[in-house]
């Protein structure tokens, strides 16, 4: 199996879905970007599906394109895209019946130099947890743990990353989870957006976004892939994701029936989740 074979299967399926009227749009990828990058594209016509592509350069998370059309939408979903769909459904942003998930078994995406993307190296979910159709690839070995990464949480590391950030908000726009109509950063009253985008204000943005993503990150890496400045702030979100995982045994986007950790409360929830610190109180 290979990308080409999966591609042909996906294309045949998308054609059929559009021709049968099962969906009115297919969100997927086409060729044509620089440095081999595949471009997100919304297919509406079965003939147009000839342009559909599936390769190791299908980077962006496609969840930003799921709403807005008439009728049902199909998504050509990497495992992380599928997890984001599940998370959006759990958060009542999408209805399961409106979305057709064409899940692909995925061995990871690469950057312009052909090097595996950091989030893909760490990824431990190479089969979409939820799908309507699965396009398998038996050659992709099942992943178990993903690669261990540095959990240095020092202020120095944070500052070094912050100093590269130009506060363009591209990471926010790329994230499936940042769908707020008005981001806290864009609020005028109280005004969060910094007068002078200095170090402290950039920290505030990233710390704020990290907290808003607590227990919601689907580990797709779209935020860092979007960043032109080479900022790695996802490690913060990873810390919080792991913390939520340890506390509540919850991982976003894995299970349609699981209630998101931050949307549920149980009397036995551990105190450290409310009060912080390293205590182990109950």
């Amino acid at each position: 199996m290979s990308f080409e074979k999966q591609r042909d299967e996906v294309a045949a399926l998308c054609k059929k879905l559009l021709a049968d009227g099962a969906v009115s749009r297919v969100v997927g990828f086409r060729e044509g970007g620089v440095e081999g990058m595949s471009l997100p594209y919304i297919f509406t016509d079965p003939a147009g599906v000839d342009m559909l592509t599936w390769n190791s350069r299908c980077l962006p998370n496609l969840n930003g394109y799921l709403t807005g059309g008439e009728g049902n939408t199909a998504i050509v979903a990497k495992p992380c895209d599928a997890r984001a769909v599940v998370a959006l459904i759990s958060e009542k942003q999408l209805r399961r019946e409106d979305i057709h998930i064409i899940g692909l078994v995925c061995d990871g995406m690469v950057d312009a130099n052909g090097d595996p993307l950091p989030a893909c190296v760490e990824c431990s979910v190479n089969c979409p947890p939820v799908y309507d159709d699965l396009i398998d690839d038996p050659d992709v070995a099942e992943k178990t743990g993903g690669e261990q990464v540095s959990n240095d949480t020092s202020l120095e590391r944070f500052e070094a990353e912050i100093d590269k950030c130009i506060l363009c908000f591209s990471c926010r726009q790329a994230c499936y989870g940042c769908y707020c109509q008005t981001c806290f950063m864009d609020r005028g009253s109280p005004g969060w957006q910094p007068t002078v985008p200095g170090r402290g204000d950039k920290m505030l943005y990233h710390a704020g976004r990290t907290m808003h993503l607590a227990g919601r990150c689907v580990e797709c890496g779209a935020c860092e892939n979007a960043c032109a400045s080479g900022v790695d702030i996802r490690y913060l979100i990873r810390e919080v994701t792991n913390f939520v995982g340890e506390l509540y045994d919850y991982r976003a986007g894995m299970d349609l029936d699981a209630r998101p950790a931050m949307l549920s409360y149980a009397a036995g929830d551990r105190e450290v989740g409310f009060l912080g610190g390293d205590g182990d109180g109950h």
Partner: protein, 325 residues
């Protein structure tokens, strides 16, 4: 005069004694212009992810301070020596100079940086993926909009000066004392696939020309393209006060952001992302050409390479051109 890259490093070391030296540096993740020592400056053909514009038009610039009824202006910035601006960057600075200093109101903040900086341009050897300078009449190897121009032969540089400032700087350093004045050359004749919009079409005509919503439907509206663009020059004023002292700042803004045109009434004349993208494109290809006779896109390709979803301004311009009479 042809010189080796080592001599150029010597010249940069000489310059760094009196000025802040800026040049392209490989940070491991990206290439960017920053304060650098002569030895870390890249002298190969690679291109940075953002342009040199922040040394003329910083992301944040304090304009004045207001305290106890007194307005205090800020000191003139110390000049930088900027090495390695690419011809597209230099031509973009030409656009920026026109915008900031033509007409009734000149921007003193831009002007004083422009006057204080020494700009050393370096020609490109090859086009990089996404580069399209040739389609907007920019010569990849040369621009005269700088103080000193270096044409890169790979092994070394052919050096010319293009301003009195450039001549003086070279003159102070013995190995470059005899450098000659550069020609002001014309760019190559426009290519067959030149990107330009017809001045015959009205603004309303462009608004109707294509289905902007379809052509821009994958744009995420992040504004990254305008931050890394060498010609995007929109800014906002922001005030901050601490202990009774008010500082006013001039900060980058972007027409891609929904708040850019949001009125106090709540009305937004550019309600949709498509309308905002259209503004960015027409500003570059129609409004600045109309007002200043220059195209405000110099083909550097940064937005094309940088866009997280691969939006390609060339393709949208081409679509608009196809419907021209």
């Amino acid at each position: 005069m042809a010189i080796s890259k080592d001599v150029m490093r010597g010249f940069l070391a000489h310059l760094s004694a009196g000025r802040t030296l800026i040049g392209p540096v490989d940070t491991g993740k990206v290439i960017e212009y920053r304060k650098a020592s002569p030895n870390e400056i890249l002298m190969d053909d690679r291109v940075s992810y953002k342009s040199i514009k922040e040394f003329y038009f910083p992301q944040v610039e304090r304009m004045f301070t207001f305290s106890e009824g007194e307005v205090q202006d800020h000191d003139n910035p110390a000049g930088c020596a900027i090495f390695g601006g690419k011809p597209c960057d230099l031509e973009a600075l030409r656009v920026m100079k026109a915008v900031f200093t033509t007409g009734k109101f000149a921007d003193p903040f831009f002007e004083r940086r422009f006057d204080a900086n020494l700009l050393i341009g370096v020609g490109c050897i090859a086009k990089k993926p996404g580069c399209f300078c040739d389609q907007v009449e920019v010569d990849m190897a040369f621009s005269d909009f700088c103080d000193i121009m270096l044409e890169d032969s790979g092994e070394g540089y052919n050096v010319e000066y293009l301003s009195e400032k450039g001549r003086q700087a070279l003159n102070e350093y013995p190995p470059t004392k005899d450098v000659a004045c550069g020609n002001t050359r014309k760019a190559d004749p426009p290519q067959a696939d030149a990107l330009a919009l017809s001045p015959a079409i009205t603004e309303a005509g462009f608004f109707e020309a294509i289905d902007w919503a379809k052509s821009t439907e994958t744009c995420q509206g992040c504004g990254l393209c305008s931050f890394i663009c060498p010609t995007c020059h929109c800014f906002d004023f922001r005030d901050s006060s601490e202990n009774g002292t008010v500082h006013r700042y001039k900060c980058w803004d972007s027409c891609i952001y929904p708040k850019f045109t949001l009125h106090a009434s709540g009305h937004n004349p550019r309600e949709s992302r498509a309308a905002r993208y259209r503004q960015r494109l027409l500003h570059k290809y129609r409004y600045v050409p109309d007002n200043f006779g220059l195209t405000a896109c110099t083909g550097c390709g940064r937005c094309v390479r940088g866009c997280p979803v691969g939006m390609d301004i060339r393709q949208v311009v081409k679509q608009v051109m196809e419907v021209q009479p």
